[in-house]
Amino acid sequence: MSAHENSQPLKFIPASEFKQRTSEAVSDELLRKSFRGAMDFLMAKRATQFPDPVALEAQRGLAEHIRKYSLAHLPDLLEQLERNLTANGIQVHWAENAEQANAIIVGIAQKHSAKLMVKGKSMVSEETELNHAMEAVGIEALESDMGEYIVQLDGEKPSHIIMPAIHKTKQQIAKLFAEKVPGASYTESVDELIGIGRAVLREKFMTAEIGLSGVNFAVAETGTLCLVENEGNGRMCTTVPKVHVAITGIEKIVEKLEHVPPLFGLLTRSATGQAVTTYFNMISRPRQPGEKDGPQEVHLVLLDNGRTQAYNDEQMRSTLQCIRCGACMNHCPVYTRVGGHAYGTTYPGPIGEIISPHMMGLAATHALPTASSLCGACSEVCPVKIPIPDLLIRLRGEASHDARPGHAPLVGQGAAKSALMDIVWAGWAALYTRPALYRAFGWLATRFRFLTPPMQSGWTYSRTPLKPAARSLRDLLAERKRK
């Protein structure tokens, strides 16, 4: 937890201010327009990949099964992975929280007297705020994914897990490059902008002592780390520097290599509507004798950071099925309106609403699960069929109640507990379980509808007040009977 408190980078606002930020975000016309446009584009692209709903259901069923099976055997698979990676010459580290993970990586970097670490895309390293930990000991941590590079240059955080700079227009990026990249002049040509980034980063790949990457799938039976990418920066980071450090959550594991193709196929199609990414990079060893490139050392850091809490409950465990495709946010009407930054968490959108409470505690995040109309667009597209709305409801319950007997409390359990709400819902239940009382209430509400308050908390924000009808349905039916 404290890692989040100590190292707040620029513009990274705590989740407790969620409501305020979201209201600001929805009134930002430009932001809303760019998110709407980008999400429409991604949704349309995904749809073209799944023309046959029956086939899609079969694929999702298999993917869900693979993920559930992997999680059911998670401790065994982690040990098997560790054994096989170690046998292959890859060093395995375990971290319970962000600080431990960062300390391990800082330690490796210092052992090699590293000055520069180039980073491939890794949301887990965002989660641990690794860049700040590295900078605190004087080691530069440079993002090399184009989107990540752009947001880092502007002192921001990613606003989307797959498309980190989706909130920025090319004009904003043009201005940013002209200001911050030595020698770059203003250009709105996307090809030229990418060319500028390419030139800067190629020099960095050459000089960095350490490359960092995430992991999309870790295969236990072969001891293989799989990475999915389009740009090639991931391959650079994992091949050019003499040390490669991969970091991943403990859940990203599958038992067999043959479990990878179904997941990989759904990941890229769900994420960006691509049948495949440019690169699928499978790493099983450091450089072997006689080999001329590749890192001499490869490390894997396995991070818990709240995942075991989700694992500890059979319903919430399904959160860990996630393969981080981002489809849930692309299809989320709330995310589309407020953008990624408003959430104030590493993972925005629906997946962020169900995973962040385990990572950051409910005290900081209890507003997130309420920020959903439970429309179900997320779970409809989720390639591993995570029942996101059910989990949101569950977390709402955990935030507003003490732990149920026999259940371990979550971090921040009951943080949104409110005596007033308890009374409101108790009163509601009393009314709706007592038909006579309910009928009396209905009778009064319809007869005294002129007393309906003109201001009804959030409702009248953009709507006229609700007023009961002059006669309830049961009154109308009774009247009809009399006639």
């Binding site: 390419r198 072969t222 650079m236």
Partner: protein
């Protein structure tokens, strides 16, 4: 620290409630069903589909034969103004490459650490073999090794790849099972996975700026596949 962390994590996972664990997923069955449902494809159709998919990723496919591929490569190098072509001098293709009279042939014969600046700044193209291709997605399979190091297909702005049309698999699953990647019973389940295995589908690209596609993000700007076919399939 890490061993305490390890024990704590594993202990937490092991003490979590476990319902009935699901049966092992039947991935083989899934692909078998898909295979049976799809109309059988002959070699010509398979080649056609591979070319079409690869073109979608902006991979340039050039049909060649066993006897003329090196000459085709030479002509391509001239057309693309390639003045230095990285190759593996110990590979099965080396002799043909050397005999073709390609301008600026450069063997990758030293550890990268000794010549990074030259590799990054002064190498126009790299040539590699492949272990096969995937028709479903228009994908190349590469297993770089000491003879053909990993960066050959990544750092130079143009990547030429030689692919035998008889090595086309329907999908990724068929390729990995067909080539026995995860080992078989004979090898006592010992993995045959190399240091690095790669799937490559087109030149490097990004859509990170306003979802606008741009090629040559960090890796090659061009991918050229020399697809080895029979004389009559040219």
């Amino acid at each position: 620290m890490t061993s305490t962390a390890r024990n704590n994590i594993l202990q937490r996972l092991r003490s979590a409630p476990q319902g009935k664990p699901p049966l092992a997923p039947d991935v083989h069955g899934f692909y078998a069903t898909a295979r049976n449902a799809a109309p059988a494809e002959d070699r010509a159709a398979r080649i056609e589909r591979f070319c079409e998919k690869m073109a979608f990723w902006r991979g340039e496919v050039v049909r060649v034969t066993h006897s003329n591929w090196a000459e085709s490569l030479r002509a391509l190098c001239v057309a693309k103004n390639v003045n230095s072509l990285l190759y593996g001098a110990q590979t099965a293709q080396a002799a043909a490459l050397e005999a073709a009279g390609i301008n600026g042939l450069k063997p990758y014969d030293r550890p990268v650490d000794d010549w990074k600046p030259e590799l990054f700044r002064d190498t126009d193209a790299g040539f590699t073999s492949t272990r096969g291709g995937i028709t479903e997605t228009g994908t190349l399979i590469l297993w770089p090794d000491e003879k053909e190091p990993r960066l050959m297909s990544l750092v130079p702005p143009i990547h030429f790849a030689l692919l035998d049309a008889s090595q086309l698999y329907d999908n990724f699953f068929d390729a990995m099972t067909g080539q026995g990647w995860s080992g078989d019973e004979a090898s006592a389940g010992i993995s045959k996975m190399p240091t690095n295995a790669l799937l490559i589908s087109g030149p490097s690209k990004t859509a990170d700026i306003q979802v606008t596609l741009a090629y040559g993000a960090h890796g090659p700007k061009e991918l050229v596949i020399l697809l080895v076919v029979n004389e009559e399939e040219l």
